[in-house]
Symmetry: C2
Subunit: 432 residues, 2 copies
């Protein structure tokens, strides 16, 4: 196995495009009262392979149930992804399931494929039914744009609610905007990896927010590649990577009713990624997903900075993850970081509450970036450290807290954000 060469992972370029073999369009069909982009359609020129990881929440939204069904039968021949914001289609029962199927059928009708070849994503308010008339208008408008007809595309089949008809935008960057809810910015990442001397492209976008532990503001991501990858290898790659990236962005490890990450492979590059080549692909995919995960954490509601919690010296990665996650979930730790308070006691107390065995007398705690960190506690006790310097470390973006458990060699990182008064203001508003 050759060492993979991963090109620069570029986050958030305005010119973001999906991987070759995929096209995207977006529109504002009226699901968002703001009139912002709220619907996008991603079309694969030829049937693509696909894999998905979904929320572990026991309350699963209709699109999640539908996509699991689709991937169980058609993971080798996906033609489109249709995604909307403004409405999560969650807690909508059997009618909501029928709506999700109808949304897939609307996309299928313009793409020219079976509804079972379409994946559906929804994010937004829970408990509201989808406005299928609006989605129908939007789909027809985008289909025109995706066929290359000159903009502004108009929907002549139905009278549009606003004068001038629907504005349709083309391109991956616009799809990334169309899934935003409380996100303050679109999240995209691109990676190129050399596999066997040929370049494979990976391009993905995501949306998050909701104080990271996404709830109303679900975490969604669509990642595309031009490699040819079988559904089973694709599935294994996505699961391995998701565990170390998207599932490490969390306040408390929860997932919302709608959380979904989709990975689609067009094969347009002609490069085959089989099990032997998988490590190289996975390495690039992980770098890309880590970039998206960090962008999601950084854009948590009310956040002023990204927070990275690294736990090392653990007996297992699971143990390290459990401790890091507990620290990342602690509102006391998150408010201390917000205030630039090097409150090491809160960090150790959170670690002790993680529900894993640890030796409190071996804990060592650091604050600050790698190579610039200040050791604030050792052997479970505070050192006589420079509070002003430590406070300065916590005000960095990202703010980094590293805890060594002193009982093993495993490491895990979790990303979160600080907890500000703005978070309370955003979430105390009347939003239902």
């Amino acid at each position: 196995v050759t060492t993979p060469v991963v090109g620069q992972v570029s986050p958030g370029t305005p010119e973001f495009e999906l991987a070759p073999g995929f096209r995207a369009a977006a529109t504002a069909c009226g699901l968002k009262p703001s009139g912002n982009l709220d619907l996008c359609l991603i079309v694969a020129a030829k049937p693509a392979t696909a894999a998905g990881v979904f929320t572990t929440n026991r309350v699963k939204a209709a699109p999640v149930l539908l996509d699991r069904e689709v991937l169980a039968s058609h993971a080798g021949s996906i033609r489109a992804v249709i995604a909307n914001s403004g409405c999560a289609n969650a807690c909508t029962g059997a009618p909501g399931m029928a709506d999700a199927r109808e949304m897939a059928a609307l996309a299928a009708s313009v793409v020219g494929c079976a509804p079972e070849q379409v994946l559906v994503l929804s994010t937004g308010v829970i408990g509201k039914r989808l406005d299928l008339a609006a989605i129908g208008r939007g789909v027809r408008g985008m289909s025109v744009a995706l066929e290359g007809v000159a903009a502004p595309a108009r929907d002549n089949a139905l009278s549009a609610p606003e004068p001038g008809g629907l504005v349709v935008e083309v391109g991956g960057a616009m799809a990334a905007r169309a899934v935003m809810t409380t996100d303050t910015r679109p999240k995209t990442a691109s990676a190129d990896v050399s596999i066997g001397g040929r370049t494979v492209t990976i391009r993905g976008f995501a949306k998050g927010a909701g104080m990271i532990h996404p709830n109303l503001a679900t975490m969604l991501s669509v990642i595309t590649t031009d490699a040819w990858i079988s559904p089973s290898v694709l599935d294994a790659a996505l699961r391995a990577v998701s565990r170390r990236t998207f599932e490490r962005v969390s306040v408390d490890g929860d997932m919302s009713t709608n959380d979904t990450v989709l990975l689609l492979a067009s094969g347009a590059s002609g490069v085959v990624v089989d099990e032997a080549r998988m490590p190289e692909f996975v390495s690039a995919l992980e770098e890309l997903c880590r970039s998206l995960a960090r962008q999601i954490a950084r854009d948590g509601e009310g956040a002023t900075r990204l927070v990275e919690i690294v736990v090392s010296g653990a007996e297992s990665e699971e143990q390290a993850h459990a401790v890091a996650n507990k620290i990342a979930c602690s509102p006391l730790v998150k408010t201390a970081i917000h205030g630039g308070d090097p409150n090491w006691g809160r960090v150790l107390a959170a670690a002790g509450a993680a529900g894993v065995e640890l030796d409190s007398g071996r804990l060592a705690l650091f604050m600050g970036a790698v190579g610039d960190a200040i050791r604030v506690a050792e052997d479970g006790m505070a050192l006589d450290f420079d509070h002003t310097a430590a406070a300065r470390r916590l005000r960095q973006d990202p703010a980094r807290i590293a805890l060594d458990l002193g009982i093993g060699t495993a490491v895990a990182a979790v990303w979160t954000c600080d907890l500000s008064a703005d978070y309370v203001a955003i979430n105390a508003e009347y939003t239902t």
Copy 2:
């Protein structure tokens, strides 16, 4: 077994006294920069039986380790409890353990007992060493008061830091004040129960705060009774009650490094509570502890109201508790309650993330007090409810959210508070 007659549980009376057989004094010995009461001593006239429940946090403070030791050997002959605020004596290693022993010895020297007959409680800043000189002065001052010498008691053995010497206050209400940290008010409760035609008295106080999931601001409680109860029956009673009261006050079920609940029985009433009488005693004890637990929740940092989460229709009490706890932990739910937003979707999503099997199509959600609640969701879907009326219910104190899982008959309640911008302000301050 006769039905126990529990007298009114009176919360927070300024005249609060401990149960017959116990005396208390408090002083401000200088552990708190504010000069407020920070040390108290509770003395049993004769050896009392005692039981304790302690934090499950893997990082345990020195007084917790010491008290477990004391109760393992001397649960039948406790003479005193000494408690301080201002310093948690946590994460202080072996020197902190020696300090806790010295604190017990100081109390023992004035009470006239062995150090192994003294229980120790500490709360406050983590990582700081105890000021034993200050505690020594305080103990000697209080001993004078407890012997009935006229106030103002003075410490003549050492020069006190402030002119006029130490002010020593006598009584249970003052002990309740001396353990306060970020608490805005003392928390006390009294219950009388008729057992076999004779009255048994139970009197307790507690401190909490720290957004309830107490961290720097540990949860401590001391409960006294004049019943005669063997250590083993006392222990069983405290464990049973604590699980349904103090352990139901939580943001995320965590306990701090110092959390401790002590129950002491003087036997002064002459009423023996054996295993046969235990249900009657437990019933009264539970009512008293529920009052203290709710007072702690109500006084969460930045809280504007008490929040009661009731989960019914569960397969087991454990399941109901897990779901209720998850809802109570959700910052999205807590901010919605703060804003009076009947955001039922957040509640269902939190329930789904509790890690227990549930049928999302059977969930029914209510907001408001018993007999006045509004049904906002049924069969996992929103009803067309009156948002303004539901918002009014959430602005009540206590605000009550009831979720029926529809799969069983078990019930559990959890108490928390709303999440306000003040919480962030309080906790983002430089406090280490």
